[in-house]
């Protein structure tokens, strides 16, 4: 590598890092409790199921929706999602088909009694604040896309860091940490060592984080293309005012896709459905396929099956980006490793910032010394 290429990569590394570092520190710190959100919420949860005989028959989904609407009169159902391991559905209601999240209400409903177990509308608690800071800094879609761009800069900073690793390590064996000389040298070695060992994890979590921030535009694109093609025969038809049974719609969808289970139902008019359909989003039954969702469209007026299509690649990427970013797909040990790697990333970010400040200070002290302040650059030019 010539001196010039190193200098260009140094500039790329410096500026992409400097711009995103403070936001990345925010994301790493707020992400830490979010890794354990299941465990933390279980500590404070009050929505445990009352004991009832195991054979208690379940009420219909329509009864569950009616129960939610009775709690929030004047609203309409938007989503209904299924808990994985207990007879509970979560019904989301709101004043219109696509209200802002702040106006939605989520009720966890016991399907044996249709009694509301808990309202999941915690929008002041610690975890909610962490989540909003992490997702959009309370700034909605622009905030989300902005953080996505910061994540993109992080990926660039990581890649340029890998390129710069070569000139720095030309005469050092892997894992060298020279802790006995200057403070700056110690942190430089630590920055390089931690950066290179966590490279793949940081790149994957960074990239999947970026993909997650694109969820709104990706779903909009899917609606405009795939969904539009599926519902082409409905163009120009009046929007139904009364909906057929959601329970029957789910049964129809499951009959059309044997072996699959519903993950959630999107009611007519919401972002994940058409104006004329229940979209029943089905998942596979095995661990490898239960992350892949297939929407089945059921006519909301007649209850007839309309169409079912597997997701295009970009929706699959969006779907897979969730576990790969959250680290919630391998039990508690994986979450602990996620937290440790997150901590190491904080050290990389902090040491990078420190090295920049320390070098600026040396540069000011030695303004007369001219170029060649970076030992590695001089070394690589030999």
């Amino acid at each position: 590598m010539t001196n010039r290429t190193i200098r260009i990569w140094t500039l790329i590394h410096k500026w992409t890092s400097l711009i995103c570092t403070l936001f990345m520190l925010l994301l790493c710190l707020t992400g830490l409790p979010l890794i354990f959100h299941d465990e933390i919420e279980a500590l404070t949860a009050e929505n445990s199921l009352p004991p009832m005989p195991a054979e208690t028959p379940l009420k219909s989904l329509d009864d569950a929706v009616a129960s939610a609407l009775a709690t929030y009169p004047g609203e309409r159902p938007l989503f209904l999602s299924f808990d994985e391991d207990r007879p509970v559905v979560n019904v989301t209601t709101g004043p219109g088909a696509r209200p802002p999240v702040a106006q939605m209400h989520i009720s966890a409903i016991d399907l044996r009694t249709t009694r509301i177990l808990a309202d999941l509308n915690d929008d002041k608690g610690f975890m909610h604040v962490m989540l909003r800071l992490h997702v959009d800094m309370f700034a909605g879609l622009p905030g989300e896309l902005f953080l996505g761009f910061m994540g993109f800069l992080l990926v660039l900073a990581t890649l340029s860091g890998v390129v710069l690793y070569a000139p720095f390590m030309r005469k050092l064996s892997f894992g060298t940490v020279r802790a006995g000389r200057s403070r700056r040298l110690k942190w430089l070695d630590l920055h390089n060592m931690l950066g290179i060992v966590t490279l793949m994890w940081v790149a994957v979590v960074g990239l999947t984080g970026v993909i997650n921030t694109l969820s709104v535009p990706l779903v909009a694109y899917w609606r405009a293309n795939e969904l539009a093609a599926m519902i082409a025969p409905y163009q120009g038809k009046p929007i139904p005012e009364r909906f057929a049974s959601v329970d029957a719609a789910v049964r129809t969808a499951m009959a059309a896709a044997p072996g699959m289970h519903p993950q959630f139902v999107a009611f007519p008019g919401v972002r994940f459905s058409s104006n004329h359909h229940y979209a029943v989003w089905l998942k596979g039954a095995t661990p490898a396929t239960n992350r892949i969702l297939t929407p089945a469209l059921i006519d909301a007026e007649t209850g007839a099956f309309t169409d079912m299509r597997s997701m295009p690649w970009y929706m699959l990427a969006l779907r897979l980006s969730q576990p790969l970013h959250f680290g919630d797909y391998g039990g508690l040990p994986m979450k602990i490793l996620w937290a440790v790697l997150d901590g190491l990333t904080i050290v990389i970010l902090g040491s990078g910032l420190y090295l920049w400040i320390a070098r600026r200070r040396t540069a000011q002290d030695r303004t007369a010394a001219g170029p060649g302040l970076r030992p590695a650059v001089g070394e690589a030019a030999e």
Binding site: A166, S173, M193, P287, Y329
Partner: protein, 61 residues
């Protein structure tokens, strides 16, 4: 430390590439199934952490 000849790229990136591949394999494995696959991914994701611990423990003081 004695001055020595610059290392070739494979010597610089050999171990980091191996760690990166093991990490990637660990990230994907746990997606495929529960049980054994999860345990394999824990082992794989421990590799970068252990490499960091090892480097720190043998640091030059």
């Amino acid at each position: 430390m004695k001055p020595r000849a610059p290392l070739p790229l494979p010597a610089i990136f050999g171990i980091p590439a191996a760690i990166a591949l093991v990490t990637a394999a660990g990230l994907v494995t746990a997606l495929l199934d529960d049980g054994l696959e999860d345990a394999l991914s824990w082992a794989a994701l421990s590799v970068p952490v252990l490499a960091a611990v090892w480097s720190w423990r043998k640091r030059e003081r």
